[in-house]
Subunit: 414 residues, 2 copies
């Protein structure tokens, strides 16, 4: 028996299911007997919540729907494996389950934390001389993984953000009075997503006026002053701000409000509110109309607008992971390597998971303007190829059609 | 000379430029010499800011881009004409300008306030026995105009909201722990837009759990209690709430927060914050993860997702207004009349502006469930035909292409 198992972990992207399809299809093409899916990642594996994917993705139509379905088809988890030392029981349990299912190769689609899972499992596997192969398939809208040129999921999120920003810019100019629009973009520590708003600028669009990334210290007073200067020049001012911008003393801007909305169940302060806070400051100072626009979770789930380049690459990293595992590799992550810039071309390349897990890639300083209020052309040049081309939803009765693992009703009946 | 003039007024919709195109193209086809555009509506007219549209929309490509461009191409205003009595000077000025430009017919694309403009101008015209014809072309995402079956702009906004809601619902189920997502939808007094979230439910989607319209009094405690009950049944709870929901004493829910973010330049309290407030209450009470998602101004400007039915109807009401004016009508608004439900068919029909201006159409009580927590199937049956079919953006270098009247640089140079 040559069975494989695949799981999805961490926050979803619009193309995370294309990577799942890449693993599923390639594994079957290469002779895998059964392709299992962990429901809610490694946590589902530990709970024995495992499905035979072929019972859910039955034909070509299902596959095309899977590519267009937002959120992680198999469900996800935010579960970090404990250190091996002192927690051998957890690892013994995992490997016992993998043995039961006669698993030959294990694939995990995810970001930094998920690559850490691959690292620990392959380390433990090597220690006990297990023949099981462990491969990481990268994804994250945040684009903050090391070594890889970019991460699958980033291009589609960037495309959504840029397209939406263009619409907001046009909308901001509709009236004949001054308006300041503050767009809040995801990215706690890395500004890649916020930088994508720079793509809006072009022959048909004024572009955003300023862009603030979390890589630079944020100064609220300077920001408010800059808005005043921009208001003297432009009727409509549109700026993009990362949700993760911090002031000099290390506090997030959204923490400066005299109220904190709430702390979530995990003790994380809700980061949202940066745009709202800044818009309030500007309205207070200049008495102009302001708008705070949070792009919210749509950045990771707006699958009605994806980049075909991204969908294809997401599929390819999944497929390449299977190929590498079937050829004997383990403890590797499939990275994307840009072999040509003009024309843009990326190939897949396996890299040792130890060099990737737990390393965070930020926007390099030389791609940000010195005053920290914008990004340089090198950065848009880097992003532009990643948002190219489209993949259209399958429209049914006026709405994009999706596919789900199981309805909640089926789940409860189980 | 047979010149016409057209203006856009009030908040934009994704298809307001299709109505502009309908006026422009039909007027030219019917022999108008020049089709003028008021820049920023009646306010621009008073300031002499008038353009010859054919110098901006020059060919078929421009027309196709115009259809796909968000925001009001000519610019808009929020300007209500004063009462005729005692303000004759304003009217004399307007009619003097119209005479200078040898205007034969005047078209105004807008919502309630704009129809009031048509009413006053045609009343004044009748009083002074002016031959100029005044026609209203309805638009508003809010769908709150009287007489017409629905308003152009509503269908596309509803499609955007429903498609986005489907994505949020899938995304909400990604983890294995409980999450409550509160989606805040536009609509200060009428719940039509919020009701569109009901369209998400289908073979491939669980749908939203509850829907709260501004037509019903909102009870915060009851809401929080309901969320608790839903959390017992479902891992992910998704509810849609209108930004305009009010508690029994008449205050907006977003005003209940112990902080008011800010009052805008017009003295309007910023309504946004309803979802945030409610999500905070739920998090506080149950200690679960919550998400507050404001669909924001994208509801009126997300032109990358529009309903072809809506685009066509928007064009048609513009064209029908020209036809009616050329046939001698004045002081009328073009309405949509549903002549068949199955198959869906709407025709255009002129209606006296006096029956439309300043009347607000709300969601009828019999389409809302008795407990006020959802809408009835009759309502989705009414909306569903309006979101049908698609019109794709023209994608250039990875993003939807738009067309603008003039760049801000050109404008400054002027």
């Amino acid at each position: 028996m040559k069975n494989v198992i695949v799981g999805q972990s961490g926050g979803p992207t619009s193309v995370i299911n294309s990577s799942l399809l890449g693993v599923f299809k390639t594994a079957r093409d290469r002779g895998a007997d059964t392709v299992y899916g962990m429901v809610h990642g490694i946590k589902g594996l530990l709970d024995g919540d495992i499905v035979d994917i072929s019972t859910r993705i039955k034909n070509d139509l299902d596959m095309d729907l899977l590519k267009r379905t937002p959120s992680s088809f198999l469900g996800s988890c935010r579960y970090k494996l404990p250190d091996i030392e002192g927690n051998e029981k957890t690892y013994e349990k995992i490997f016992k389950i993998l043995k039961e299912y006669e698993i030959f190769a294990f694939f995990y689609i995810g970001g930094n934390d998920s690559m850490d899972t691959i690292k620990k499992l392959s380390d433990y596997g090597a220690k006990i001389k297990s023949p099981i192969r462990f491969m990481g398939v990268p994804k994250t809208i945040d684009n903050d993984l090391a070594i890889t040129d970019h991460t699958p999921g980033y291009g589609s999120a960037a495309k959504y953000i840029a397209a939406t920003t263009k619409e907001i810019i046009r909308d901001g100019l509709v009236y004949d009075y001054p308006v300041v629009s503050v767009i809040e973009v995801m990215g706690r520590n890395a500004g890649w997503l916020t930088a994508a708003t720079a793509l809006a600028k072009g022959e048909d669009c004024e572009g955003v006026d300023e862009i603030y990334l979390p890589e630079k210290v944020f100064d609220v007073d300077k920001f408010v002053k800059r808005m005043g200067e921009l208001l003297k020049k432009n009727r409509s001012v549109v700026v993009a701000v990362s949700e993760g911008v911090k002031v000099a003393d290390g506090r997030y801007v959204c923490e400066l409000a005299d109220h904190v909305d709430y702390v979530d169940a995990f003790g994380h302060k809700q980061l949202a509110g940066t745009a709202r806070y800044l818009a309030g400051k500007v309205a207070e100072k200049y008495g102009v109309k302001t708008r705070a626009i949070e792009l919210s979770s749509l950045q990771r789930c707006a699958s009605h607008i994806t980049a075909r380049v991204d969908v294809t690459e997401a599929f390819n990293v999944g497929g390449a992971a299977v190929k590498a595992a079937f050829e004997g590799l383990s403890g590797q992550v499939i990275t994307l390597k840009r072999v040509s810039d003009d024309p843009y071309m990326c190939i897949t390349e396996p890299a040792d998971v130890h060099f990737i897990a737990n390393v965070e890639k930020k926007v390099p300083d030389e791609w940000i303007t010195d005053d920290g209020t914008n990004v340089k052309p090198e950065l848009t040049h880097y992003i532009r190829p990643l948002i190219q081309a489209e993949i259209m939803p399958l429209w049914v009765d006026g709405l994009p059609r999706h596919i789900r693992l199981q309805s909640e009703t089926e789940k409860k009946a189980k």
